[in-house]
Symmetry: C2
Subunit: 355 residues, 2 copies
């Protein structure tokens, strides 16, 4: 048995895989594979409508916000957000809390003035900057709620005099949020929403159409809103698998229940990292992510041996990102407490042998 | 049994569905679903390398051309092509042969001057314009090789004094082409290459980097070339299913064999349309597409009854696009001659009953 701690694309529930596999052979009772149905068919319209409705329900998305399923990944949103929200002579404010946050503001610089309100770069992004000031004259404030690479997470939405744009790629659907705190939320699906190939955007309608830019149709959120994510051929299968995953989340009790489990999973692992004399966390304690747990060894020379043990035990994706080193356990929604316990056991055994 | 004549996403071989379904449960011997593996894993690197190699082999792509697997569909290329190839003060030339061709040049107009060299719009795009002149001072000449909606196809690459950019979304991999005739080829996968969610781009490297534009990284072909289509998370599964489909195509004899079959399939259906007193084609005979066969009834009042019969027989996707009316039989690579014969039989029976 594998324990998939990969950072994304990542583990999804086994039940989802089963149904996803079946739909490739025959989708519902269409007599067709999900891969060969028209995106304009009634069968697919029902899929996209239910997917949207489930996102709306699970995240309590209020009226006045549209929900879109787009292509290009979160990286594409780094450019598409300023296209849609940054006036040609305007300014945007960004928080620099990690690699993705930094890429986001660098792309925005191609569209206008960017003010970086704070950065933890000089500390290798081990913490999330706090007590920064958001300029009231910027068009929007952008931050990354979970820094996938560095294992830090911002649980409290900053107070902001301007609309907030948030990259929630790696913690969306893992905990409760208040959508009305945001002007725009985006997330590559390939962590907690579904497989790679679709990107979720939740946008407040009345922010759009104010930049004075002649936006290419495919990058204009308004075109996708009008067309209900069917402006052009959508990533049919990635949306369908997301639907299966959202159904799974709803059936198990929704965000309230998954957040409860995620808290227990993260606490179990962080407790062991603290307790275990061989390991230590890399992120500031108050900013520790519930999704990506980054840790190293007090004695780096032992890291290779632990990775070998991890592989023997069927742990996948535990190697840390090269920017941090050591280990990263990504413990997304579908990762079970069983896998967490297996990792804790391995850490304890390893500590005994190497005491 | 269904006969899937849908225009795209469309039929793929049954063998492909079978293997594609299995990989959702377990991919090769990884112990993981293809949906949960990292795009940076060795297992997926092997997938993308083989997919690229097969495109290169099947289409005889010469050295000096890169092959990319991107997101956003062909519609996204309508904007990304001029971003990469149209200098800020430059001009591009476009042929207007259908709905998609027209959308392509309208997006290019957002990036510079567009000269439409010829248009068949006034004739509802029933033919492909010929004998137009391509201006030597434009950066590139863009055309659509197969007009999916109107059922016309350009089999001969125009002679051009400037690089040619071609939207081959609906006829790529259906017949032999000479890649060196082109500067750039793009195609949404969801006809002959694979499922929706991935877009193929074949680009001549030395055309890039000449616009003076500060292109967002995600839209810069050079970034994707450098990263071998792994600049950001790619649409893993759509690429994998494309690989399965390309393997199928190679195993059955490659482009030479599929082109031979496609000629027979198209001829069989067009012959019946001509012969049958109830039906007539809508496209100019010399420009008839081998991929999308558009036809109507001499007596439009009978069309509904024929559609009903078609549905009873398990024909899917036969209704014509609203811009043309009547019927459109999309007869892509994976559609068998058996399905063509079933359609011809139905047309003959219908004619006998309604003589
Ligand atoms: C927080 C965050 N933002 C953006 C990205 C980039 O996403 P994509 O690969 O979909 O472009 C990632 C990828 O892991 C991420 O974790
Ligand atoms: C020739 C052609 N170009 C472009 C498109 C648009 O493709 P997409 O939906 O992938 O953007 C289509 C869609 O059918 C097409 O047939
Ligand atoms: Mg990061
Ligand atoms: Mg410790
Ligand atoms: Mg057309
Ligand atoms: Mg006839």
């Amino acid at each position: 048995m594998k324990h998939n701690f990969g950072a994304g694309p990542c583990i999804l529930p086994q039940e989802v895989f089963k149904e996803a596999s079946q739909a490739i052979i025959e989708f519902n009772d269409t007599g067709l594979s999900i891969l060969e149905i028209s995106h304009r068919s009634k069968a697919f319209e029902a899929v996209i409508e239910e997917t949207e409705a489930l996102v709306r329900e699970l995240l309590s998305v209020p009226a006045g916000y549209s929900i879109l399923f787009l292509q290009g990944g979160a990286s594409q949103q780094f450019a598409v957000v300023p296209m849609n929200l940054l006036p040609q002579t305007g300014k945007a404010a960004y928080l620099d809390s990690g690699t993705w946050a930094s890429k986001a503001y660098k792309e925005a610089q191609k569209f206008g003035i960017v003010q970086v309100v704070a950065s933890s770069k000089e500390a290798n992004y081990t913490y999330v900057p706090k007590n920064f000031e958001i300029p009231a004259d910027a068009a929007y404030f952008h931050y990354t709620s979970n820094n996938t690479i560095y294992g830090t997470e911002l649980f409290e939405t900053p107070k902001s005099p301007i609309p907030i744009v948030c990259d929630m790629s790696s913690d969306i659907l893992s905990r409760e949020i208040t959508v009305s705190d945001y002007g725009l939320i985006y997330a590559g699906a390939q962590k907690n929403m579904g497989p790679a190939g679709v990107t979720l955007v939740i946008v407040k309608d009345d922010l759009l159409g104010k930049t004075g830019r002649d936006i290419p149709a495919i990058f204009d959120y308004r075109k996708h809103i009008e067309a209900k994510s069917l402006y052009n051929t959508p990533p049919v299968y990635a949306i369908y698998v997301s639907l299966l995953n959202l159904r799974w989340l709803k059936a198990k009790g929704g965000i309230v229940e998954i957040e409860r489990e995620n808290i227990i999973k993260a606490r179990t692992l962080y407790d062991e990292i603290e307790r275990n004399p061989l390991f230590k966390g890399t992120a500031a304690v108050e900013d520790r992510s519930r999704m990506n747990v980054t840790f190293v060894m007090e004695n780096p020379e032992l890291e290779k041996a632990f990775l070998t043990l991890a592989e023997e035990r069927g742990f996948v994706g535990l190697k840390g990102h090269r920017s941090v080193g050591g280990f990263r356990a990504s413990i997304y929604n579908a990762l079970t407490i069983t896998s967490i316990n297996a990792l804790v056991d391995a850490m304890q055994e390893f500590a005994e042998k190497n005491a």
